[in-house]
Each structure stands twice: as C-alpha cells, then as structure tokens.
Amino acid sequence: MAKTIKARAQVKGGVCVVKALISHPMETGLRKDKKTGKVIPAHFIEEVVVEHNGAKVLTADWGPAISKNPYMNFKFRGASKGDTLKISWRDNKGQSDSLETRIK
C-alpha cells in the first residue's frame, strides 16, 4: 500500500522544525456526489501522533474541518541530527499509516 505521509524534519539552532503532508480525503460527510445526489460519507483523520526517540512530541485530535491532504508544521527542542521521528495517523474508519523519518 502506498505511503501517505511525506515529512521533512530539520534541526536548526537547537529546534527541530517539522513539516508534514498527509494524503487523505478528509471528507466532512456534508458533501453530495454531484452525479448520484448521495451524501459522501465522512472519512477523516481523527488522531495524529508524533514521536521522537519513542517519546510523544505532539498528539493531535482532528475533525473533518482540517483541509484535504492535511499539512502540519510544528517545532520541538531536544532533537539531534540522525534521530528518528515517527508520525502516525488513524482515521474514523480505522485506517492508519505511519512514517519513520531521519531528522536532518
């Protein structure tokens, strides 16, 4: 299955800046299919967890108002080049994905 998360994590002056993009429809459940007129069911990421060397750096609860193909940008201290950052998400249908990336 194709990986859905792209991320870049860079340490600058003691602060690790992370920018990540996740492929996901983030359907609100309010839209109608224009051809069939049926409501497109809600399908959105509910939780996101970011870990650095096994410790949780950020956890987020999301609702359907986060835009399609969600973007997130955050910063934390205490990371070094070469450390591992793990980003995971889980959606309302129980689907999930995660990415481990090296901090540069």
């Binding site: 939780e47 987020a60 108002a65 986060i66 835009s67 969600p70 997130m72 995971s88 889980r90 129980g94």
Partner: protein, 158 residues
C-alpha cells in the same frame, strides 16, 4: 485535573484491554493510537464555548495578546485556509483551533509535548467569513485570540 483525566483514561484503557482482546479478535474494535477517546462531543459542539467546555470542562476564555494567529485576510478558497498559531504563554499544554461560523467550530486540538514549542501551522476549512479562534490551555486557564478571515467560496463543499 490533567493527571486525573490521564489516570481515568489509563484505567479505562486497562479495563478495556481485556474486553478489547476479545472484541479485536472478533474484528469489532479498530485500534487507537492513544488511550484517550476522540473527543466527539467537542467536535460536534455548535459553538466555540460549547466546544471548549466539552473539551476541557472550562468555558471561560481570557483574551490574550500573547497569541499570534497568521491567516489570510481574504481566502479565495475556504476549503484550504493556511493558519499559523504561535503563543508566548508559559506552560502551554494545548492549542485548539476553531472557526466561529463553521457548523461545528472545533477543527483540531494539538497537545504539546514538554519540549514542543507552542506553534502550529496547518490548513483548515472555513465555511464562510468568520473569525478563526485559537485557544491555548495553560494550567487551569484558557487563553484565546481571534482573527477574521473573509471567504469568497465556502469551505465545506457548498
């Protein structure tokens, strides 16, 4: 209050684990990443105050000039509005981002780790011209700031 909530969640999780073992085996449970349940009532609340009350038990928001919200003054496409929130508030534990005039104002809650800066950038849906509100929880207080975003095309597919 936080510790109690965590203990409750942990205990709930531990008890649920026994049941979860059986249910997961039967394919009835979907795995979660964290123990705390997704705050459904907060995400379904119809006002900023109701959402924050459901989320934290508190409804009183104290305006703060220490929270900066960057958002476009006019968004051509309400479905993708870039927002950055940064707060200079010691002990900031979480940042919640709400859109006042969305049917359900709460968009997201970001829980900060001990070494994580109170800074979040993301993209949200704004259904019509509205204030984007950031609420920072620090200890037993909720600090907030807002910024108006005008929308020319609605954000939820309307």
């Amino acid at each position: 209050m936080n510790i109690d909530n965590k203990r409750r969640a942990l205990l709930k999780g531990t008890m649920a684990a026994g049941v979860a073992g059986v249910a997961a085996g039967a394919g009835l449970l979907t795995p979660r990443l964290v123990l705390a349940a997704w705050p459904k009532s907060a995400f379904e609340a119809k006002s900023v105050d109701a959402a924050m009350k459901a989320l934290t038990g508190m409804a009183s928001l104290t305006g703060s000039s220490e929270i900066q919200i960057k958002a476009p003054p006019i968004a051509e496409n309400g479905a993708v509005v870039g927002v950055t929130v940064s707060a200079n508030i010691p002990g900031a534990e979480s940042i919640s981002i709400l859109v006042e005039k969305n049917a359900s104002p709460l968009t997201s809650v970001w829980h900060l780790g001990a070494n994580t800066e109170p800074f979040i950038g993301t993209r949200i849906k704004v259904s019509k011209t509205s204030s984007v509100i950031a609420v920072v929880k620090a200890g037993n207080k909720l600090y907030s700031a807002g910024r108006e975003v005008k929308v020319t095309i609605g954000g939820c597919g309307g």
